[in-house]
């Protein structure tokens, strides 16, 4: 899958996007990306889709700049469109076309050579396992099948920049695993941006993670670096059901599970209660820890912050 270009760089510099009534969906967002898979994680409404839309040249940033290998997207959007594969969160299909015709249409829109496009479409239909239904109108496809058509569409032009926004929405658990594998296989000499709020999707594929909350970059780090942040901070503690409410008031709790001996609680804290046992941190713990710390540092949201957590707003860990 090598492309000949030795160097790919997507630079996002102090980007902001304001919608009507002065609502900032994104503010002062900076990030520099090279080949690999970036997992863009954040809660609903964090600004992920806005960022995706800016990077995919669907909408313009209100302030700041985005450059692709030095070309400013505001002035030369086609510089990135030529090498862009984009799978939006919500997209439609033309119901009267079949999968081949739909992909042929987009191959023509993207300006691909006819013979190369035909070969590519055949390969992609095999890859997304739609070869058997290639001649059926898309109007009769299920949500998962449409999503797979979308994936094939995004890969049509062998993109150097692949942006996938909530790609596993609508896929069943088995398909999700397969899509993650596909992303890992594709991440060679290209930049892949995977936006999601499903931590396990990122865990499986990302070489880098950007945490975003309320339109700002909370953290940008490798999964290992993020996990190191919560080393010796994750504990498992068994509390009687009656004391759970009090525990929630006092500690940052990742998860709970009711067992016969009480409620097994996963705590994120520097100062564990007596009887708590150390647990192996997961990326979900790190995600929760970073977001909660960030919210505590900017004074947003309720609930206890993890003791000893430090603010890392807009900076790399």
């Amino acid at each position: 899958m090598a492309h000949g270009e030795n160097y790919l760089k997507l630079a996002i510099e102090k980007v902001g996007k304001v919608y009507s009534r002065k609502v900032w969906a994104l503010r002062n967002f900076s990030l520099e990306l090279g080949p690999g898979v970036l997992g863009l994680l954040g809660p609903n409404g964090a600004g992920k889709t806005t960022l995706m839309n800016i990077l995919a040249t669907i909408t313009r940033a209100t302030e700041g700049s985005v450059t692709w290998n030095g070309a400013d997207l505001a002035r030369q959007p086609d510089a990135v469109r030529a090498v862009l594969g984009y799978l939006p969160q919500d997209f439609g299909v033309y119901p009267n076309l079949n999968a081949v015709e739909f992909l042929e249409y987009f191959a023509a829109v993207k300006g691909l050579d006819a013979a190369a496009a035909r070969r590519r479409i055949e390969e992609l239909l095999v890859l997304v396992n739609l070869a058997d239904v290639r001649k059926r109108p898309l109007g009769g496809f299920s949500g998962g099948m449409r999503q797979r058509v979308g994936i094939a569409q995004a890969l049509l032009n062998d993109p150097q920049l692949l942006i996938v926004d909530e790609p596993t929405a609508g896929l069943d658990p088995e398909e999700r695993v397969r899509f993650r594998n596909l992303l890992s296989e594709l991440s060679g000499e290209r930049i892949i941006i995977l936006s999601t709020h499903i931590v396990s999707d990122v865990e499986a594929t990302a070489t880098d993670i950007a945490l975003i909350s309320a339109g700002t970059l909370v953290a940008h780090a490798s999964p290992e670096e993020l996990l190191r942040q919560v080393e010796n901070k994750v504990w498992e503690w068994i509390v009687p059901s009656a004391e759970l409410a009090a525990a929630k008031q006092k500690y940052l709790i990742g998860s709970t599970a009711r067992r016969s001996d009480g409620v097994h609680v996963r705590l994120l804290t520097d100062a564990p209660p007596a009887g708590a046992l150390p647990a192996l941190p997961t990326l979900e713990d790190a995600y929760l820890y970073c977001l909660t710390s960030h919210r505590a540092s900017v004074g947003v949201g309720a609930g206890p912050a993890p003791a000893g957590a430090s603010a890392r707003e807009g900076s790399a860990i």
């Binding site: 899958m1 839309n53 995919a56 040249t57 669907i58 909408t59 313009r60 959007p77 086609d78 469109r81 030529a82 090498v83 984009y86 939006p88 919500d90 997209f91 439609g92 299909v93 033309y94 119901p95 009267n96 076309l97 015709e101 042929e104 249409y105 023509a108 829109v109 993207k110 300006g111 050579d113 190369a116 590519r120 390969e123 992609l124 095999v126 890859l127 997304v128 396992n129 058997d132 239904v133 059926r136 109108p137 109007g139 009769g140 496809f141 099948m145 797979r148 979308g150 994936i151 890969l155 062998d158 896929l171 069943d172 088995e174 398909e175 695993v177 397969r178 594998n181 596909l182 296989e185």
Partner: protein, 539 residues
């Protein structure tokens, strides 16, 4: 009581959702503008109501009645298209699926939606009433406002008409084959028929009230009688016109006036008008019979045979999703990047396929029949009529241009493609021109062979103009509706009714008209380009 509350809240939520949209303000602005032009000044190039060269003095009764009748005529057409999206909105927003799980019955739903449609149209009538009052004072021929005389025609002429329109809009939304383009075009002809019945028999007072939806049979005979009392013989020869009638440049309407104090709204007249409200209720109730209640299985009834076959096979397709996880090997052939490559012709073919895909064999058979007949028929008038039909036949294909991306939610896919503005948009336009040439080519060829240079020039310009109109309207409105309505109206008045200037199939178009089509085509293309440019976000 519970039912009333349910209907009220259903209609209220829908009403608020509509009137809080920015374009509702624009619509009200347009209504105010209509109110202004419906009451022309004494010395004007146009007239809206003329009875044998006369009109009433602008007092409350005359202004109220004239504006209310014109409102009934115009709003019964425009209003239908403005409100015919109540159920579709619930489908698009998926609120419908939630409503479908509540105890709300189908009849309550269609009634509630019709009520909401009616409320929206009633607001417009209210605005028009205020505009009429203001215009009476602005024209200053009679400064005394009689509230009831001014208001009564709006209440008793307009509201019943619009109640029916509101219910018919719901009915059209529930009947699968009337829901989209075909319904939009069909309504136009229904509206024409509804107008022509009372207009033809405006002097036959005493007819059944259900013959006269627009209510002109109630007011016009009394108006003619008042005119006749001042100017004997007024209106006897049927020389009555209602609508926007323009004089040539430099000529003016100088209508002489008579006094008219309005009609006595007798109980039987009021009862006759209220009967239309009953008709509206019956139509809205009837819509419940066709309403699918957002049931995907019943939505399936609307699929083409091909789609049904595909859906039937969908359950069989359960094997795997993406290529099997354990055996996944990505073996995609890398693509050579050819930045300078121009595949415009292939893109045009793709756009053409997108336009024509899904049409039945019958559609092609009729199109081919019209193509051949419009070339072969020896009688020029019949040939022109067939050529006209050949260019209304693809109206639903053209109307998708520029709006297809919004309708199928593929904007993000198309707009993020390289040179979408400079390649995809022109390709869509060229495909539209190809459709015009393919469907109307028989007549064009005949003009060419017959040496009718002017006729052929008009035909060529029309073949460019129609897709340009469609593309610009589609891009700017994001819907196929605007083009379907305006083009059908244009086609009806032009090629079908031979109105001078707008009959684009005429062999006697003046140089001025030819120049108009050329300028209009260019303007529309520029508008489409600018509109799409705005949509792209990036230049």
């Amino acid at each position: 009581m519970k039912l009333a509350r349910m209907l009220y809240h259903l209609a209220r939520a829908d009403f608020l959702e509509r009137v809080r949209r920015y374009n509702f303000l624009i619509t009200l602005g347009f209504i105010i503008y209509l109110g202004y032009i419906f009451v022309p000044p004494a010395h004007s190039r146009y007239a809206t109501m003329e009875i044998g060269g006369h009109r009433g003095v602008y007092n409350s009764a005359y202004v109220g009645s004239a504006v209310a009748m014109l409102t009934a005529v115009f709003l019964s057409l425009i209003g239908f298209y403005l409100v015919k999206n109540a159920i579709d909105r619930d489908l698009q927003t998926r609120v419908g699926q939630i409503l479908a799980t509540t105890p709300l019955t189908k009849r309550e739903y269609t009634m509630g939606k019709a009520l909401s449609n009616f409320a929206v149209l009633a607001v417009m009538v209210g605005v028009m009433f205020v505009a009429a009052g203001v215009m009476q004072l602005v024209r200053g021929e009679d400064m005394t406002i009689h509230p009831f005389r001014l208001l009564a025609p709006f209440l008793l002429i307009d509201l019943p008409v619009l109640a029916v329109v509101a219910a018919v809009a719901i009915l059209f939304e529930t009947v699968s084959w009337l829901r989209r383009g075909f319904g939009n075009v069909s309504y136009f002809f229904l509206w024409t028929a509804a107008l022509s019945i009372p207009m033809a028999a405006h002097q036959s007072l005493g007819g059944h009230p259900l013959d006269d939806l627009i209510g002109s049979g109630i007011l016009l005979p009394d108006l003619i009688a008042a005119c006749g009392a001042t100017y004997p013989g007024c209106g006897n020869n049927g020389n009555i016109s209602m609508g926007l009638n323009f004089k040539e440049a430099g000529q003016y309407f100088d209508l002489t006036t008579f006094r008219w104090e309005g009609i006595h709204w007798a109980p039987e007249i009021i009862l006759g008008r209220l009967m239309w409200l009953l008709v509206a209720v019956v139509i809205a109730g009837m819509a419940a019979f066709f309403f699918s209640r957002f049931d995907p299985a019943r939505e399936g009834l609307r699929l083409t045979r091909e789609q049904k076959r595909a859906r039937g096979q969908e359950n069989v397709e359960t094997s795997g999703g993406l290529a099997a996880a354990g055996t996944l090997t990505v073996s995609l052939t890398p693509l050579a990047r050819n930045a300078g490559g121009n595949h415009f012709a292939r893109l045009v073919l793709s756009e053409l396929r997108l336009m024509l895909k899904g049409q039945s064999r019958w559609w092609y058979a009729v199109a081919a029949g019209l193509l051949v007949a419009s070339a072969a028929i020896p009688y020029s008038e019949a040939r022109q009529a067939l050529a006209g039909l050949a260019w209304i036949w693809p109206v639903l294909i053209w109307s998708q241009m520029g709006a297809r991306e919004a309708r199928h939610a593929t904007e993000s896919l198309v707009f993020s493609s390289e040179r979408a503005l400079y390649r995809q948009l022109p390709a869509a336009w060229v495909a539209g021109v190809v459709v015009a040439v393919l469907t109307g080519g028989g007549y064009g060829l005949r003009l060419l062979i017959g040496g009718d240079a002017r006729g052929f020039a008009a035909w060529c310009l029309a073949a460019l103009f129609i897709p340009s109109l469609s593309l610009a309207f589609g891009v700017w409105s994001g819907s196929s509706k605007l083009f379907e309505v305006i083009y059908t109206l244009w086609w009806y008045m032009g090629p079908m009714s031979h109105a001078p200037g707008i009959n684009f199939l005429s062999s006697s178009l003046s140089n001025q008209s030819l120049a108009f089509y050329l300028v209009a085509t260019t303007t529309l293309l520029v508008a489409a380009f600018l509109g799409r440019r705005t949509q792209l976000g990036y230049a």
